[in-house]
Structures are given as C-alpha cells and as structure tokens.
C-alpha cells in the first residue's frame, strides 16, 4: 500500500500574530521570530470542520484526475474535534463525497501523532480486506477549543485539513512504524470538560449548570510537553530507523510535526541534523495538529517533488503519544 497523493485546504480567515499579540500581550517579535508564526488560519464562524475536510477532498480530486471515488473502500478521518459528538465525522464526509454504501468509515481519535498512526491503520485494513484505494483525512480545528487570551495555546495553533490518497498501485512505500504512548502525561494536553467524565448534562440526564468555560478549552502545560518531546522524539526516531535498517544519513528529509519553530530547532540540534533536512512550514499556518505533517508533505510534493526521496515522518503530542515511519518515494 502506497501514499499516492496529498491535498489540503486551509480556511480563508487569517489571524496575524499582531492580533494575537493584542489579545494576549505576548511580544510580537517573540511570536514571529521565536515561535516562528506570522499568521495562522481559523475556521470562520459559519464554517464547520466537515466543510474544510470536504474542501481538502475536493482539492485531492481536482489534483488527481485518475482518482475514482467508486474505487474507495475505506475513509478514515483523524480528529479530536469532530463536528458533533455523535455521529463520527467520517460518516458526514462519506455523505458529502457521495461515497458508496460499502465503504468502511471511522474516525481516529488522535492529535498530532494521528496522521502517522493513520497511515498504518489504513495500510493494515487495506491489506486485510484487499482494498485497492482509501482516503485518510485529517481535520482537527483547535480554533474551536482555544481561549483567545490563553498565552499557552492561542499563538501556536491553526486550522487546516488534508486528504491523502492511499493506493495499491503507486506512490510512496510505507516502512515499519514505531509507536508509543505515555498516558501518565495525558493531563499536559487536555480538554477536561464535555466528555463522559464531566458531561454537559448530569449523569442522570438532567440539564446541569455549565462548568467554567476554561474547562471546555485546551489546557497545555508547555514545560511538560517540551520535556516529553525532547526526550521521546529522538528515541522514536532512533527506534524507527533501526526497525527499517537505516541511519540518520539515509534520510533525505525529516518531516516532524510542526509544533513550533523553536521546538523544531531544538530537535534538529539534538539529533545533529542540517537545517535543510528539517523543513518547516509553520510561518503561515501555525501548528495544525494532525494536519501538520501531511500539509508539509503536500507542499514539498508541489514545490520540489518527492520522487526518489526517503522521508521520515514523526508525529507527537496528545496522549501523550508518538508515531514515526519512513516513506520511500
């Protein structure tokens, strides 16, 4: 099973870092030069996540005339911020795309590691069920869960959606993945209210007084997350390379989850990688959660082509979780 093509969509609403600076009081130079983000996109008030996911799929169809939706046997949507608590977003997208009734659809509840996990999940199911074509979509709009004055999160995240076509015929070959989880760190990146532990309705079904708005928003412990990333990412990269019989020098590009420019620089230093081997696209889109890796791959695909390249992809975040793989184009 191969990763054949990736397309993406970003919302029209652009939020400049100057605006974030006004909201939060954070220094503009710190936002643009240290975190490395000039602007990010947020969904419009009337726009829904499924609209953005659908736009990414339409872009995929317009870029790949040979893609026949009738051949799609599987649709997976990676999100932790679906349009509705029930049903799953992949069912809504299935309808929007007019897919056939025999198509398997489900959502994958993962954050920044979700795309790399998704590649393996889709590949495995395609092989198990002898499917020839599948779609892996990412769309996790954090703009809907971040407080506008939260200095820890609002400067970092942006919205985007991507649509990847996996095919038995052509594209990048997926290597052996490395996965991992440290559930002890789960509270470092969390939305506490609104799930079944703290439901919007009381447990016996009666309406209850809403909790604090902050509880429905993303909480991030920056120090805990930085520590997790600096410890686990080099280890998972090393394990993945070993599983695939490769060395650091065998990789053409290291496409990490685009957490922040600062973090990417620190990872690059720790791994001893040249700047040109660690592409970064965060300046105009921010950290787009599970969309960050496929979005960057799609841009590399357009700008310089991926044919013949060996790319390591590594996602890490919510969970805390991580996933790494190698794609040989």
């Amino acid at each position: 099973m191969k990763l054949r093509h990736i397309a993406y969509a970003i919302p029209d609403r652009r939020v400049e870092s100057a605006v974030i600076s006004q909201w939060t009081g954070l220094d503009l130079q710190f936002l643009t030069e240290k975190i490395g983000i000039e602007s990010r996109r947020f969904l419009g008030r009337e726009e829904q996540p499924i609209d953005l996911a659908h736009a990414a799929c339409r872009n995929l169809l317009s870029e790949c005339h040979e893609l026949d939706l009738a051949r799609i046997g599987l649709l997976v949507v990676v999100t932790q911020n679906p349009d509705y608590k029930i049903p799953h977003s992949s069912a809504l997208l299935h309808h929007a795309l007019g897919l056939g009734k025999t198509v398997a659809c489900f959502d994958l509840n993962l954050g920044c590691s979700g795309f790399v996990y998704g590649l393996s999940v889709v590949k495995s199911l395609m092989l198990a069920e002898s499917l020839t074509d599948a779609l892996l979509v990412t769309c996790d709009p954090y703009s809907r869960i971040i407080g506008r004055m939260d200095r820890d999160t609002v400067a970092l995240f942006g919205d985007a959606a991507t649509a990847s076509w996996l095919s038995a015929e052509a594209g990048g070959d997926l290597g052996k993945p490395d996965f991992g989880t440290n559930g002890a760190g789960a509270e470092n990146l969390m939305v506490k209210l609104g799930g079944s532990a703290y439901p919007v309705m009381s447990i016996d079904g009666e309406a209850k007084e809403a909790g604090s708005a902050e509880g429905y928003r993303l909480h991030m412990n920056g120090r805990g997350i930085l520590e997790f990333m600096m410890q686990e990412v080099p280890r998972t990269v090393s394990r993945c390379l070993k599983k695939n019989g490769l060395e650091l020098s065998d990789i053409d590009s290291f496409v990490f989850h685009q957490a922040s420019q600062y973090l990417l620089q620190q990872l690059r230093k720790k791994l001893g990688l040249a700047p040109e081997k660690v592409p970064c696209n965060i300046r105009d889109v921010g950290n787009t959660v599970s969309s960050s890796i496929p979005l960057l791959l799609a841009q590399l695909q357009t700008k310089e082509g991926l044919a013949g390249k060996r790319i390591l992809v590594c996602g890490f975040g919510v969970g805390l979780s991580w996933a790494t793989n190698v794609i040989q184009y």
Binding site: R223, E227, S260
Partner: protein, 82 residues
C-alpha cells in the same frame, strides 16, 4: 553538589540552551528580569539543567517560585532548599 559546581552546571546549561559561549551569570543574576532567557529558553534551560544535575524541578510555576534567580537555583541544586 557545592555552590561552585552548581554555578558551573547553570553556566553549562545556559550555554547549551542559548548556543552562546560568552554567557556569564553571578549569584545575583535574575535570568528572566535581565532578559537572558525568555519563556521558551527558560523551559529548555531547566530541562538541560535537570539533565546535567539529575535534579527534578517542581511541577509548579517556577517563575513565580523564583527559580530563575541564580541564587534560588543554586540553593535548590545544593540541596539548601527543596
């Protein structure tokens, strides 16, 4: 660890974090007030310092606790506090 060793560890962690060989601090330095580290460098510095000294810093807000004052850091590293 004595005070001199703590200061050396702080210098080593700062040099690594900031990629600068010319960093020099004294027991009176406040790393945040004197803008030697910003919030990101501060987190990275503590991670490096933790690695160098094998000391685990508290989970709470270390700026509020004064952990970016070198004196406080040295006291913590030399086990005078915490």
């Amino acid at each position: 660890m004595n005070q001199q060793q703590a200061l050396e560890a702080i210098h080593a962690a700062l040099r690594k974090t900031l990629d600068r060989a010319d960093i020099s601090v004294t027991i009176e330095t406040d790393l945040v007030e004197e803008k030697i580290v910003d919030s990101l460098d501060g987190m990275m510095f503590l991670l490096e310092l933790s690695g160098v000294t094998d000391k685990k810093f508290p989970e709470s807000d270390l700026v509020k606790l004064g952990f970016f004052r070198v004196r406080k850091l040295v006291e913590f590293l030399t086990d005078s506090i915490g």
